[in-house]
C-alpha cells in the first residue's frame, strides 16, 4: 500500500472511531465501498423478493381490512427496496447493474423468502417473526457509519413497526380463535421459526466478514448478538398468545438473562442460499417476469418524455 493510501486509511478509520458518518463523496477504502454495495444491494433485493410470498395472499385476504393492510405492506416493501437501491447508487453502482445481478442469480437475497406461504396464518407469522427479525437488524443498521444507508434504514424502521404489529394482531386473533385456527397458527410458527433465526446470517464463528464490518461500523453488533436479542424479544410474545416455539431446548438463563436456544440447522441455511430452497426458482422467475412485463411501461414513459422535450425545443 502506498504511503498516501495508508495515511488516508488511518484518517478514515479515525473518523469512524470518532463516530463520524461517511458520505458518498468522502474518501473510503475500496473494500468498504465493495462490502457496502454487496450488503445494501442484497438488502434491496430482499425487500423486492419479499413482496412475492405475501403478494401471493392479497387476492385471498380474509376481509377487506386485511386486504388493505396487506396491499399497504407489500407496497412498503417496494418502497424500502427503492430507498436501498438509491443508497447503493451513491456508491457508484447503477440500478440496472443491480437488477441484472439479481436476475442472473449472481446477487443474493435473504434466504427467508425462499419458503412458501401455505396458509393465511403464514401472513401473520411473517409480519410477527420475519419483520420482527428485520427490525432488530435494521435498527442496528440505522446507526451504521455510511450516511445514506443509515438514513434509508431509519426511514424503513419508521414504517416497519406497522408490519410487525399487523402480523402479531393476526396471530393473536387466530390464536384465540377456533381449534382449526389455533392449529393453523402453530403450524405456521413451526415452519417459520428456524428460518427466521437464520435471517441473522451464519454464526460468528463462521462469519468471515464480521470483524472488518464491525471495525468500520457497517455493523455494530454481531450476527449471534442480534439473533439472541430477537429470541429474547420473541419468547414472551409467543407465550402471551399460547403459541409454542418449536425448540425443546429453549430455556431461560437467570444469570445471562438470555433465552438459550437449540442448534440451528446450518446445512439447511447454506442449501437455501445456494438455490436449493423450496421456492428459489419461482421467486426469480416471478422477478424476471415482472421485469419483462414492465418493460413496455418504461419504454412508453421514455418515448413520451422524448416527445415532450422535442416539442419544448421546437
Amino acid at each position: 500500500m502506498a504511503v498516501d493510501e495508508k495515511a488516508k486509511l488511518a484518517a478514515f478509520e479515525e473518523r469512524i472511531a470518532n463516530g463520524e458518518k461517511i458520505e458518498p463523496k468522502d474518501w473510503m477504502p475500496e473494500r468498504y465501498r465493495k462490502q457496502l454495495i454487496r450488503m445494501i444491494s442484497q438488502h434491496a433485493h430482499s425487500e423486492l423478493v419479499g413482496m412475492l410470498p405475501e403478494g401471493n395472499w392479497i387476492t385471498r385476504a380474509p376481509s377487506l381490512r386485511r386486504k388493505l393492510t396487506l396491499l399497504a405492506k407489500v407496497q412498503d416493501e417496494a418502497g424500502h427496496g427503492l430507498y436501498l437501491y438509491c443508497a447503493a447508487e451513491t456508491l457508484g453502482i447503477d440500478r440496472d447493474e443491480m437488477t441484472e445481478q439479481l436476475l442472473s442469480g449472481k446477487a443474493k437475497y435473504s434466504s427467508i423468502f425462499n419458503y412458501p406461504t401455505l396458509t393465511w396464518a403464514d401472513i401473520g407469522t411473517i409480519g410477527w417473526l420475519v419483520d420482527g427479525a428485520a427490525i432488530v437488524n435494521q435498527t442496528m443498521l440505522a446507526k451504521c457509519s455510511y450516511g445514506p444507508y443509515a438514513r434509508a434504514n431509519l426511514r424503513i424502521c419508521k414504517e416497519e413497526n406497522f408490519h410487525k404489529r399487523q402480523g402479531y394482531e393476526i396471530i393473536s386473533i387466530m390464536a384465540n380463535g377456533t381449534d382449526a385456527q389455533r392449529r393453523m397458527v402453530q403450524d405456521a410458527v413451526d415452519r417459520w421459526w428456524w428460518p427466521s433465526l437464520m435471517m441473522f446470517g451464519p454464526p460468528d464463528t463462521n462469519s468471515p466478514n464480521t470483524e472488518e464490518l464491525m471495525r468500520w461500523k457497517v455493523k455494530l453488533k454481531s450476527n449471534d448478538d442480534l439473533r439472541q436479542r430477537f429470541v429474547n424479544l420473541t419468547v414472551p410474545q409467543a407465550r402471551a398468545v399460547n403459541v409454542t416455539l418449536p425448540d425443546p431446548d429453549l430455556k431461560y438463563n437467570e444469570e445471562t438473562r438470555n433465552w438459550e436456544f437449540g442448534e440451528i440447522d446450518w446445512d439447511e441455511f447454506y442449501a437455501v442460499i445456494k438455490g436449493h430452497g423450496p421456492m428459489n426458482r419461482e421467486r426469480l422467475e416471478a422477478r424476471r417476469s415482472a421485469e419483462e412485463r414492465g418493460q413496455w411501461v418504461r419504454e412508453a414513459a421514455r418515448a413520451y418524455a422524448a416527445k415532450k422535450q422535442a416539442k419544448e425545443v421546437a
Partner: protein, 94 residues
C-alpha cells in the same frame, strides 16, 4: 437491459413552515413521472406538504476536499459571532 431513466433527487417539506429536506432519489423519464414516483416512494404516509425533484446531474456541489480552502473565509471570522464582544457586567438584553 434498459438504459436507466435519469436519476432525480427528492426533497420533501413535511411541516408547514419547515424547509424542504433531502429524502433520497428516484429514477424517472421526466419531471412529472419523477414527482409521481417520489410521492409513491417517499410520501406513502401523508405528512408531506410539498415535493421538489431535481435531476441529479443538474446539481452543482462542493467536494469534501474543499473543506479547507473553500470554507476558510467563514471559519476564520470570530468577529461574526456575538461571543467575540464583551459588554459591561450586569447588562441585560445585549
Amino acid at each position: 437491459m434498459n438504459a436507466t431513466e435519469p436519476l432525480w433527487e427528492v426533497f420533501l417539506r413535511e411541516k408547514q413552515g419547515a424547509p424542504h429536506e433531502h429524502a433520497g432519489s428516484v429514477h424517472a423519464a421526466d419531471a412529472e413521472q419523477a414527482l409521481q414516483n417520489a410521492r409513491d416512494v417517499y410520501a406513502r404516509r401523508g405528512r408531506v406538504l410539498s415535493i421538489w425533484v431535481v435531476q441529479t446531474s443538474e446539481i452543482a456541489a462542493t467536494s469534501p476536499s474543499d473543506d479547507g480552502p473553500f470554507f476558510e473565509p467563514g471559519n476564520e471570522k470570530a468577529y461574526r459571532h456575538p461571543q467575540f464582544y464583551s459588554v459591561p457586567r450586569g447588562i441585560k438584553g445585549v
